[in-house]
Amino acid sequence: MSRVELRGLSKSFGPVHAVRNVSLDIPDHAFVTLLGPSGCGKTTTLNMTAGLEPVTGGDIVLDGTPITGWAPHERGMAMVFQNYALYPHMNVFDNIGFALKLQRRPRPEIDQRVRATADALELGALLGRRISQLSGGQQQRVALARAMVKEPRVFLFDEPLSNLDAALRTRMRIEIKRLHQQLRTTSIFVTHDQEEAMILSDFIAVMRDGLVVQYGPADEIYRRPNHHYVATFIGKPRMGIVRGRLRIAGAAAEFLAEGLELRWSGIPLPTLADGEYEVLLGVRAEDVRLSSNTDSADDGFDGSVELLEPLGSDTFVEVRRGAHSLTARVEPEKAPRVGETVRLRLPWSRLHLFDATTEQRIN
């Protein structure tokens, strides 16, 4: 059982509060990603969990045992670093087996475990090589092997894929996912790449400025972001946002922005109380319906096609009306031409509404 609980973790470097108040419950066997831009505190949180960074406030609990003051190697965790951090003066075998050597395990045991792990990652032939002789992908696998051989209770990943080129990145991603499916070890993964987070994780904690903005299952983060920040951080392309005034009256809703008017009727109740709200209206590209300009439905508006992004499997159409611009996803055959006037329809059920001031979700 390797359930990790972070309770009210905080870290300050003098006047700088890198981590303010992070509380996360990471269930056994889960793959959890700490997601956010640089400086949000995700790596510091990871380092505190590992024991590499002393905690300013809060506790870390592993299976009910508080481990907050413990040295890194006492915690039963293993870490994979961004720049691999392989020991340049040792060969691959010694790199992988270093931890076991420090534990004073008998040589035959070290030998067997290192070889088994190396074979699992197809590194068997490279055991005698020096680190400098390996390619980036091979080094990454050695870093993985080094963590795996310790049979830890928790894997910690510090942006391990950020240094790889796109093709290698995709391959390693799959490798890590497969590893997790196989070993089912609790894993905490840090990255700024939201695509990576979506692909790999069971749960995502979106962080900003030392705080967790939202924590939940990956698909929930995607489908129901509870904060404007999360909504625009997750999802590619970025969620389209329009600022305006929303008026609710019974089953009817009206949205007014500069040069834009949208109306919906028959909205399911109760969504929001009657009244006027200053909102940020968000809609994902795949939820926007594109139709010709002959369509005159109220829940849409006309705009001119500004830009096309053909990706092969989909085409993203950027449509502009005055100061507003939204992107719609269409099948490539149905893509309009640049300059054409089209109608974008925004179905009520697909909208994400955030209070313009607090940025919190209101629907």
Binding site: L52, M79, Q82, A85, L86, H89, A99, R146
Partner: protein, 276 residues
């Protein structure tokens, strides 16, 4: 490589040859003096006879027990000083490079400033201190003084080298089970090995070439070879200048040998050591 000057190759070689001549001439001359009888180079003009080249002045110098004692003193003191500097220096350089120690900047400033203190200001108090500790004219006394004097420089150099090690490497070692000290010994030091060699060379040569402390603090039992040489030179009526020349060559031999063997490290160390 930027060929910013289109000097003809011949000019480059000529100038380089001149510089090499300039560099080597003083040593070459005394080397010559050390293998030729004095008569040959005292005459005007010098009459160097190749067939009279002999190592007998070296043999004679090495037969002089006082000189041998001086060489031994220098060897032992320099070697132990180097070791002591490295160990104590590494222990001190690590926290200054990596750890969040209170008043760290104060220690850094002190080490920078104490690097520059001239020996002259320390010599009299040092004499009184060693006399009080009964360490005058002793190996231990010299070792303590030399180590203290060279330590700031050693700490600074090692600190610079340690800072170049990526922090993740240390973190990986700690995750693998090293204590902080263990990470220092098993990971940081092996990785900075070239820098440590450079620092070791500096410490050794620095100790070997020391003069003022040896001059004042030792009288007979712990006289370093630099002091012995200067006393040979100043004796106005010595039997044979070739002997002095041989002694001079012997006293500059170890540092010169180190330069030949470890020059790559020395260059790196020089560049590293003068960084602030």
């Amino acid at each position: 490589m930027a060929r910013m000057q289109r000097l003809r190759p011949a000019a480059v070689y000529a100038l380089v040859a001149l510089f090499l001549l300039w560099t080597v001439a003083p040593i070459a001359w005394i080397a010559t003096m050390s293998v030729q009888p004095e008569i040959n180079y005292v005459s005007v003009p010098p009459q160097l006879r190749l067939e009279q080249t002999s190592l007998r002045w070296y043999i004679a110098t090495l037969a002089d027990p006082d000189f041998v004692a001086a060489m031994q003193t220098s060897a032992v003191v320099s070697f132990v000083t180097m070791l002591l500097c490295l160990v104590i220096g590494a222990l001190a350089a690590y926290p200054l490079a990596r750890l969040n120690v209170p008043h760290r900047n104060l220690y850094l400033t002190v080490s920078v400033v104490s690097r520059m203190l001239p020996a002259m200001i320390l010599i009299i108090p040092m004499f009184l201190l060693l006399r009080w500790l009964r360490l005058l004219d002793s190996y231990l006394g010299l070792i303590m003084v030399y180590t203290a004097f060279l330590l700031p420089y050693v700490i600074w150099m090692l600190k610079n080298f340690f800072e170049q090690v990526p922090y993740a490497l240390e973190a990986a070692a700690r995750m693998d089970g090293c204590s902080r000290l263990g990470a220092l010994v098993r990971v940081i030091i092996p990785v900075t090995a070239p820098g440590i060699v450079a620092t070791a060379v500096f410490a050794f040569i620095g100790a070997w070439n020391e003069f003022l402390f040896g001059l004042i603090l030792s009288t007979s039992k712990a006289v370093p070879v630099t002091v012995k040489l200067s006393s040979l030179v100043s004796t106005t009526f010595h039997s044979d200048t070739s002997l002095v020349a041989a002694a001079g060559m012997l006293s500059l031999l170890p540092p010169v040998l180190l330069v030949f063997v470890l020059n790559r490290f020395i260059v790196q160390g020089l560049v590293e050591g003068m960084k602030y």
